[in-house]
Amino acid sequence: MRNLYAIYRKEMRHYFVSPVAYVCIGLFLLISAFFFNFFLAAVIQQSFQMEMQSMQYGMPPQFDVPGQVMRAFLGLLSTLILFITPFLTMGVFAEERKRGTMELLMTSPISEIQIVLGKFFASLSLFALMLLPTASYVVYMYLHSDPIPPWRMLFAGYAGILLLGGSLLALGTFISSLTENQLIAAVLTFVAFLFLWVLDLGHTSEGGLGSVLQYLSASRHYDEFARGIIDTSGLIYYFSFMLLFVFLTVRSIDSMRWRRA
């Protein structure tokens, strides 16, 4: 545990002395703030139109502005992290290997699992830190809504995005352990993410394969969370996804001992 914390601490520090963290967080907040504003304006305008229509037909307006904004916003966040997480994980092991510091870690009394988990939790923390300010936009909207929409929506949505992000980070960490080149790691990670994203396009095909692909798609489960539903199958999916790639990373690092020439 102490070893794990030592690695975690080093990684966090590394993120914040290099420009990576600042550039990623800055860019992320800038884009997400812009789009939140845009969605809010668009949905409110739409709600006015709906209200006008409903007045014409004499029906009581039923338009869930915060819910609409929330869903659009969470959809955007999930797309954004697709582009940003590869940059958070690209150097995790690639840089360590290139610098030769892997030799220090691997000859210290510290296990591969501790190294991998320390690094994984650090990237997850940075990710959470990046995400946190965006929640304030949503909270602000909540507090100015009448009635205040269920907080469950917010929690489920952010739980979903954390789980999705964690899964992508675990995958990115694994890919980073395969190469010494950060750029290759980033590109491969991005390609792998895209692949996971479009897996559920297979849902058009009927039957067994279609539903399997649908289950495997990372975005499918996220949609459930974005609608405010904490779905057990989604939880299991994301947790096993993270576990699998953390495990594969440990194996990959361990195998370096044997492959090295």
Binding site: N3, K10, R99, W258, R260, A261
Partner: protein, 320 residues
């Protein structure tokens, strides 16, 4: 402290380390000498648990480097060929990090870091980012890293490479100062380094051990006899013939010194024979002016070259 038995490492058809056996006593400095690619780094990496051996065993402080890797890693400090530093950290933060992952108890950490900084003369650089340090300082940080947890065994892979002459002397003195409390293995391809710092030398070539001895024994072994250097003014052919006639001579080489009429002849003699007076007499007898006559003891360099360029049979013979 360190026991290595029949250690072999083969990757893809190449045997980098071939049945290497040696042992190091507590407090001793062992030099690992060999040309680049001889298997020094590979042997060290096996000892540190960085990579497994193909066959054979190695024990450090009684623990098997493969079976008990974690325990071994607690007992060693290791400086790889390139200092494993994080450029974005300060010297102090970096050493603190290393102390943490080497399981130094938190109440002793600050003291250990300060101690390592003091021993490597990094006091005035402790708050500087490692990427701003010169090569010599980085190397020192690498050494500080290897001793921050006060390990029993310190393994240094070419610790003086890339340093300037003054720094080299400092590092050598530092290493000598560490012996006694620590058992040290260092590798180098620089010969004076081993004769100056090491208690014992393992000469390794193409993965095989060519010789294990003290530097003094290796130099005084004078394999193949003694060499005598003669500087004289004489016709080359006549000198060669005259010297060959001296009893006990095994080989004569003569060559013209640049920019002068002087000839320098190197006379090799059979073991045990001192023929200096006989040579002098011969030269005087011919009436040639003699400028210099002295015995040349084989330097470690000569032994090294002989051991590492000769055929394996010769190397084997000298090792036994």
């Amino acid at each position: 402290m360190i026991e290595v038995q029949d250690l072999t490492k083969a990757y893809g058809g190449v045997t980098a380390v071939d049945h290497v056996s040696f042992s190091v006593n507590k407090g001793e400095i062992l030099g690992f000498l060999g040309p680049n690619g001889a298997g020094k780094t590979t042997t060290m990496r096996i000892l540190t648990g960085y990579m497994p051996a193909t066959s054979g065993t190695a024990k450090i402080a009684g623990f098997d480097v493969f079976g008990d890797s974690m325990e071994v890693r607690r007992h060693i400090g290791y400086l790889p060929e390139a200092p494993p530093v994080y450029p974005d950290m300060t010297v102090e933060d970096y050493l603190d990090f290393v102390a943490r992952i080497k399981n130094v108890p938190s109440d002793k950490r600050a003291a250990r870091v300060t101690d390592a900084i003091r021993k490597t003369n990094l006091e005035d650089r402790r708050a500087q980012l490692i990427k701003r340090l010169s090569r010599g300082y980085k190397q020192r940080v690498g050494i500080a890293q290897a001793l921050v947890h006060d390990p029993d065994v310190i393994i240094l892979d070419e610790p003086t490479v890339g340093l300037d002459p003054k720094q080299i002397i400092e590092v050598r003195n530092l290493i000598k100062g560490l012996a006694g409390d620590h058992t040290i293995i260092l590798s180098t391809h620089i010969l004076p380094e081993v004769s100056m710092t090491c208690d014992r030398v393992v000469i390794i070539n193409k993965g095989k051990i060519a010789a294990v001895d003290t530097p003094q024994n290796l130099t005084s072994q004078l394999k193949g006899g003694q060499k005598i250097r003669v500087e004289v003014e004489a016709p080359e052919k006549a000198l060669r013939d005259a010297l060959t006639q001296v009893p006990g001579t095994t080989r004569v080489e003569a060559e013209q010194l640049p920019g002068g009429a002087h000839l320098v002849a190197i006379v090799e003699t059979a073991q045990g024979a001192d023929i200096r007076s006989a040579i002098a007499a011969k030269i005087v007898q011919n009436g040639w002016p003699l400028f210099e006559l002295r015995g040349v003891s084989l330097s470690l360099e000569d032994i090294f070259l002989e051991l590492t360029t000769d055929d394996a049979a010769h190397a084997q013979e000298s090792a036994s």
